[in-house]
């Protein structure tokens, strides 16, 4: 078969500028970005979409994604997204937040945006650490996991708190229509992640309320691991603490089934 006969079945998203990725080797953001971009293309949303870049590593999305981009203050993305979506109900508003941003400094904003049932979709990327600032303890850091602000490991008995499960926390809120937790550490799970995000997109497109997909990702640099070790860490350590599956479908609570 020569080149002319080959058919392109997959490639870089057209939304992604031809620039090198700003992310570290083994980082999960690239995979999640790709899934999100593919869905934006499949649903033809790029012409009327605002991508909300948070404070954290993924703020750098604004440097290479070909979408209207809004950067907000640390943790305030759900409030800013609310302001945009209420102003422009026909614009697709995609909020992309990390664990420090959403589960620590921005906890009030995410709970209340969810509780109001804002018609926005939040992609919550949980890598159990502060990446951009250099590996500090996050609200989602596992017990025993080391970080630059807990060198001997997170110790709940020493007053450092327990890892927060966001999906379980938001599950009780009536404004939440769709809630799922997935991971991207294997190809099969990437496909499941895409399916969950697709469900979340549909909720917003059908004006059915608030949707959030929590995606477990790796941060090998700040975890002090090789990329493959980091994928094992997700599988063996993170998944037991953060069960996978759908927590809410059509506004009804579901027992998570990975």
């Amino acid at each position: 078969m020569n080149d002319k006969d080959m058919i392109k079945v997959a490639g870089r998203s057209s939304l992604w500028d031809d620039k090198p990725s700003p992310y570290c080797p083994g980082c999960g953001h690239g995979v999640v970005h790709r899934v999100v971009c593919e869905l934006i293309e499949e649903y033809k949303l790029a012409d009327n979409c605002v991508f909300m870049a948070p404070v954290g590593c993924s703020i750098l999305a604004y440097t290479f994604l070909g979408l209207d981009m809004c950067q907000s203050a640390h943790g305030r993305t759900p409030a800013v997204a609310t302001g945009i979506k209420r102003s422009l109900p026909d614009t697709f508003v995609l909020a992309y937040q990390g664990d420090g941003d959403l589960a620590s400094i921005g906890m009030a904003e995410i709970i209340h945006a969810a509780n109001r049932g804002e018609h926005i979709t939040t992609i919550f990327v949980n890598n159990a650490i502060y990446g951009m600032t250099g590996g500090q303890m996050a609200p989602t850091t596992l017990e025993g996991q080391t970080a630059s602000t807990c060198m001997d490991g997170r110790d709940a008995s020493a007053g450092m708190g327990y890892p927060i499960r966001i999906c379980e926390l938001l599950q009780s809120l009536d404004g939440v229509t769709y809630l799922a937790r997935t991971t991207v550490h294997t190809p099969a799970n990437v496909i499941k992640t895409k399916k969950a995000i697709k469900n979340a997109f549909e909720v917003q497109l059908n004006r059915k309320g608030f949707s959030l997909v929590e995606v477990l990702t790796s941060c090998p640099i700040n975890w002090g691991m090789q990329p493959l070790e980091a994928l094992d860490f997700i599988d063996q350590k993170m998944v037991p603490q953060y069960p996978l599956g759908e927590f809410k479908v059509d506004g009804k609570s579901a027992a998570p089934q990975a």
């Binding site: 012409d47 009327n48 605002v50 209207d68 981009m69 809004c70 302001g83 904003e109 209340h112």
Partner: protein, 369 residues
């Protein structure tokens, strides 16, 4: 112009904002501005516009940021403690070049303080309460009527410079009822090709952002902001004067305090004392040049504030030459009394500084320490 209506300051500000084409209001309850958010909760939804009672002042200012980013005329209001919480958002509005209107109906502080009138947020309003180098136009209305006029204007000014504008009232301006006539002018928001969202139709993606990690970029942005601040200084300065032509003592006061001072000035004039008044309407930009010009002929200045003395630093910065500067201030919700102000005028103009005066909160020949 329409018929006069009798309204509370807070409600009149809300109505003026709605008439100015306000698309989106986001607030959080705090006394003494509660009538403003309550008015919005009725009249914004009735007009099909956005109203949200946010979970906090922080969320409210960030909703303003989002609505402004989407090209809307947006506004929030609060009082001192809540305005402190909004400072992060105000800094971001400047950094991302977003227009918005913020109302501060000042109350006594610091801390939770009280709900009495105060002017103690002057520094916060005029000297950059949030982080980074920035300014915004600050209006200090002295009546309910003027509060409506500066509110209407504030939206145009915010849009013109893509910068937030602050309306600095106090518990008296917010709470008192006065007759007010609303302008029947039609709002004319400019096109906002920089705004986010809506069908792009071939338009290149827009970005609302205040971050760059590339060397020199944020410095370059700051020079752009500086040029805007210079334009604001040139175009937006507002003040008025009374009896400046022959004054031997000039009162300097803003907001409700200027109303008290105007009364004192009239009483003093009735007694043959040559007292005048300078009333800044914009606190930023500040009428430095005007005050310096008066200082060439008027040798006594008396600043009156509901604070320990904040605007007085700007009066001093105007360059008073050999003129003396006196101060009367009432902090923490205290309201200056006419007799106390008159006592200082007597001390300076009649008694030629002989003897002591016991007026509370008075500092004679004030110096920057």
């Amino acid at each position: 112009m329409g018929e006069p209506v009798f309204m509370k300051g807070n409600e009149a500000i809300a109505e003026a904002a709605i008439r100015a084409g306000l698309n989106s209001y986001f607030g959080y309850p705090i006394t003494p501005q509660n009538e403003l958010i309550a008015y919005m909760s009725v009249h914004m939804p009735a007009k099909g516009r956005t109203f949200i009672q946010a979970e906090s002042e922080i969320a409210a200012i960030n909703m303003v940021y989002g609505a402004a980013a989407a090209g809307m005329r947006s506004m929030t209001s609060s009082s001192g403690p809540g305005i402190s919480l909004k400072q992060e958002g105000i800094s971001y509005l400047v950094g991302a070049q977003l227009p918005a209107v913020i109302v501060n109906i000042m109350r006594g502080g610091p801390g939770l303080g009280n709900i009495a009138p105060s002017q103690a947020d002057y520094f916060q309003a005029c000297k950059g309460g949030g982080h980074g180098d920035y300014h915004m136009v600050v209006y200090a209305p002295a009546s309910v009527q003027e509060a409506t006029e500066v509110t209407f204007k504030a939206f145009d000014v915010a849009d013109r410079y893509r910068n937030p504008v602050l309306i600095l009232g106090d518990a008296v301006i917010g709470q008192m009822m006065e007759p007010v006539v609303f302008s029947d002018a039609t709002p004319s928001p400019p096109p906002k090709p920089w705004a986010l969202g809506g069908v792009r139709n071939g338009r290149k993606p827009n970005m609302i952002n205040s971050l760059s990690l590339e060397t020199g970029v944020v410095e370059e942005w700051n020079w752009i902001f500086k040029a805007k601040f210079e334009e604001m200084k040139k175009n937006e300065l507002m003040y008025e004067t009374f009896h400046a032509e022959d004054a031997e003592l000039m009162l300097v006061a803003y907001g409700i305090t200027s109303r008290i001072c105007k009364q004192v000035m009239q009483q003093a004039r009735a007694r043959g004392l040559k007292v005048g008044l300078i009333r800044p309407i914009t606190l930023w930009p500040f009428p430095y040049q005007a005050i310096a010009q008066f200082a060439a002929k008027t040798k006594e200045f008396l600043v009156v504030e509901m604070s320990l003395g904040q605007m007085i630093e700007d009066v001093k910065l105007s360059g008073l030459g050999d003129a003396a500067l006196h101060f009367h201030g009432r902090p923490g919700g205290g309201i200056p009394q006419e007799r106390d102000i008159m006592e200082i005028i007597d001390h300076v103009l009649v008694n030629k500084r002989a003897g002591h005066i016991a007026t509370r909160g008075t500092v004679i020949d004030w110096q920057i320490s």
